[in-house]
């Protein structure tokens, strides 16, 4: 197969009218296309097939995207429209996402803007990972920010999908992502670990925050391997005003051992949105790159990780428990605590969000700060569970409608499971937030675990 001259504007291909060529790269070309009745702007992607062995690579990258893109859905990926062949060259038509590519931003960004863009990208990665796919080539050119601030991931040419053949499995040179962002395990040949995307996210956040790539842009395999043992200079070395929480998040993403990184993009998004809740470690306070001894230790540790690169991502749920802090002595509290403990015991890598909802009218009453008061009560409530404080965060929401507030908070924080108490006998008909369980169950986007007191069957409720 060879690549004919660029497709001329005005050419008709299977109902699409080809417009201007908007990009010509080593792997392929992108054209604007239109079609009657199309609801959104579209792009046609065509592989570059005119350069020998590289043509085979280009076709493979194209095929990889053509396999995976139709399987993805949601606002964080371009919508797949069609795939076909034109003069024996395959093509792919997808949504042209409106917005600005991240590589157009002038760097460094202000720290708040870094956290905002980072959380949006982490949301998109979380969505992608929950669809069984891994991007494996996250970099500024592959992120489009929509006008509303949400992120869209583009270019799935190096991606991996758990339910589809990975034809790049035997590739080394071509499949190993982009040098400034690629994770150490990808350098060693791993293509099945979603945490690789979190390393790339860390490198990207580092660049957004400092204007520099954490490991430069090495051109050799040896140069790429440096990141197995080399600590990057902490972002604060370049931007002294950088918040410790942001540095903590960035450096945790950049841990060479996937097991020491975040285990879920949802956790990254959460920390970027709630910097006050980020547990700070030594990473947060680094001012200079580690000394020779620390680097040697990192190198020594990296040796062992070569075998662990294929490890499956551990389940790392975000669990949200709704606590009625207005009635701390309610006999149902121990049941909710027991249920929460049981749920958390199922995974080591959870993130627990404890939420109290305080009706807005109470928030306004004089002489007390409901934020402080209910936060103290939440802390007291969670204490018997002896959960690692680094995994817990406490939130007091002030809202007139508790159920709506819980559902909204869960939705914005990628919560996987909401745990809350069932209404007590006699309370079902009453207004107020305890009868919100059914509303939350009906309208939450995630699973909901409704805890009922042992021995209290729903039928028994009615008899009382």
């Amino acid at each position: 197969m060879s690549m004919p001259a660029p497709i001329a504007p005005g050419t008709r291909v299977d109902g699409f009218t080809v417009g201007e060529r908007v990009h010509a790269g080593a792997m392929g070309c992108l054209y604007d296309v239109t079609a009657g009745g199309a609801a959104f702007p579209m792009l046609m992607k065509v592989p570059r097939l005119d350069t020998g062995v590289d043509a085979a690579q280009s076709l493979l990258a194209f095929d990889t995207e053509a396999l995976i893109l139709p399987r993805l859905h949601g606002p964080h990926v371009p919508r797949f429209v069609a795939a076909g062949e034109h003069e024996s060259v395959p093509y792919l038509v997808m949504e042209r996402v409106p917005g600005e590519s991240l590589d157009r931003r002038a760097l460094p960004l202000a720290p708040d803007a870094v956290a905002e863009a980072g959380a949006a990208i982490a949301d998109a990665l979380h969505e992608l990972h929950s669809q069984d796919a891994i991007h494996l080539d996250l970099k500024p050119d592959n992120v489009v920010l929509r006008p509303d601030g949400s992120a869209v991931l583009v270019d799935f040419a190096l991606a991996h999908h758990r339910e589809l053949p990975d034809l790049l499995a035997e590739e080394r040179r071509h499949a190993a992502g982009s040098a400034p962002y690629v994770s150490p395990e990808q350098v060693l040949g791993s293509r099945s670990d979603a945490r690789s995307d979190l390393f790339a996210l860390g490198a990207l956040l580092y660049e957004l925050a400092t204007g520099r790539a954490p490991f430069g842009a090495p051109r050799t395999l040896a140069g790429l391997r440096d990141r197995l043992w080399m600590d990057p200079a902490p972002p604060a070395a370049w931007v002294p005003a950088l918040a410790p929480a942001l540095q903590e998040v960035i450096l945790r993403c950049l841990e060479p051992d996937p097991a020491r990184r975040y285990q879920s993009a949802a956790h990254v998004a959460f920390d970027l949105r709630h910097p006050a809740e980020v547990p700070l470690t030594e990473r947060a306070h680094r001012k200079t790159a580690s000394g020779v001894l620390a680097q040697a230790r990192r190198w020594w540790n990296a040796r062992g990780h070569r075998l662990a690169t294929q490890a499956e991502r551990e389940a790392a749920p975000v669990v949200m428990v709704a606590v009625d802090t207005r009635h701390p002595d309610d006999p149902r509290q121990p049941d909710l605590q027991r249920a929460t403990r049981r749920i958390l015991s199922l995974s080591r890598e959870f993130r627990l969000i404890c939420v109290a909802v305080v009706p807005a009218e109470l928030a306004g009453s004089p002489g007390q700060d409901p934020q402080v008061e209910h936060r103290i009560r939440l802390r007291h409530w969670i204490a018997p569970l002896a959960v690692d404080p680094a995994r817990v965060s406490l939130h007091v929401l002030e809202a007139p409608d508790a159920a709506a507030a819980l559902v909204d908070f869960a939705g914005r924080n990628n919560v996987d499971l909401i745990v809350l108490g069932a209404p007590a006998p006699g309370e079902r008909a009453r207004a107020g937030w305890r009868s919100g369980a059914s509303t939350v169950t009906a309208s939450a986007a995630c699973s909901v675990h409704v805890v009922r007191r042992a021995g209290r069957l729903p039928g028994a409720d009615r008899e009382e």
Partner: protein
């Protein structure tokens, strides 16, 4: 056109019937029987009759090593397999035996090759149990698609940029695109004697127009198949394997 790929039925009537019904519900209009109709199981005659009926209506059927052992050499089979072949010879009618003898080693169509073992020297019954073996078979087939059995495993090999075969273990029920400009080698799994710890029958449905393949696992009444094996006086291990999928 949806084509059902059925390999290694091994005289298991219950498993074959379940797969045929499953395929019919999903619009299969054509069938390919990828060898080893007999051996191990207790219903060789009934299975051959069903396959012969399908073949008369245009189904593909190729010879497997257990089928060949009926009228040829069985010295290389293990004891329980050889015992089953010995018993099978005593229960087949001349017509059923003749059907097996007439089966070709491989069938080549425009875009697909059907063969029990490797398309490179099918008569050697080499196992396609590595990427290299898959490359050899696919190259010899000279077609985008090579459909085979013999290895009682569901696996899909696809060619990469350097024409190396890359293995993929499919998840049952998930359609996988298989564009014809690459080479694909399909191990359809075993209908009648799955060995991956799951007793459910294994087969695949491929749509060559849409260039898409879906592997399936079909639950069937293996208790009944196993009790027939015991009733026929075949080695106990053959019944046990059906119950455990090993």
């Amino acid at each position: 056109m949806v084509l059902a790929l059925l390999a290694d039925v091994h005289a298991n009537l219950e498993a074959l019937s379940a797969c045929l019904a499953h395929a019919r519900d999903r619009g299969a209009l054509r069938h390919a029987f990828l060898g080893d109709l007999v051996g191990y199981g207790a219903d060789p005659g009934a299975v051959i009759d069903i396959v012969a009926e399908h073949a008369a209506r245009g189904a593909v059927a190729v010879l497997g090593n257990h089928d060949a052992a009926i009228f040829g050499d069985d010295a290389y089979l293990n004891d329980s397999a050889a015992a089953a072949i010995e018993w099978t010879r005593t229960v087949l009618t001349p017509a059923q035996r003749a059907f097996l003898e007439a089966l070709p080693l491989a069938v080549h169509e425009e875009r697909a090759c059907f063969v029990h073992a490797s398309a490179a020297q099918p008569e050697r019954w080499d196992y396609v149990n590595s990427a290299r073996a898959a490359e050899r078979s696919s190259r010899a087939a000279q077609r985008p698609y090579t459909f085979s059995g013999h290895v009682h495993d569901q696996l899909l090999y696809g060619s990469d940029a350097l024409e190396r075969m890359v293995a993929f273990r499919p998840r049952p029920g998930v359609p996988i695109p298989v564009p014809a400009h690459r080479h694909w080698l399909v191990l359809a799994g075993s209908v009648g004697q799955p060995r991956d710890g799951t007793p459910a029958a294994a087969y695949a449905l491929v749509d060559l127009d849409a260039m898409r393949i879906t592997f399936h696992r079909v639950p069937y009444d293996y208790d009944r198949a196993a009790s027939k094996v015991r009733a026929a006086g075949l080695p106990e291990i053959l019944a046990y394997r059906l119950e455990r999928g090993v």
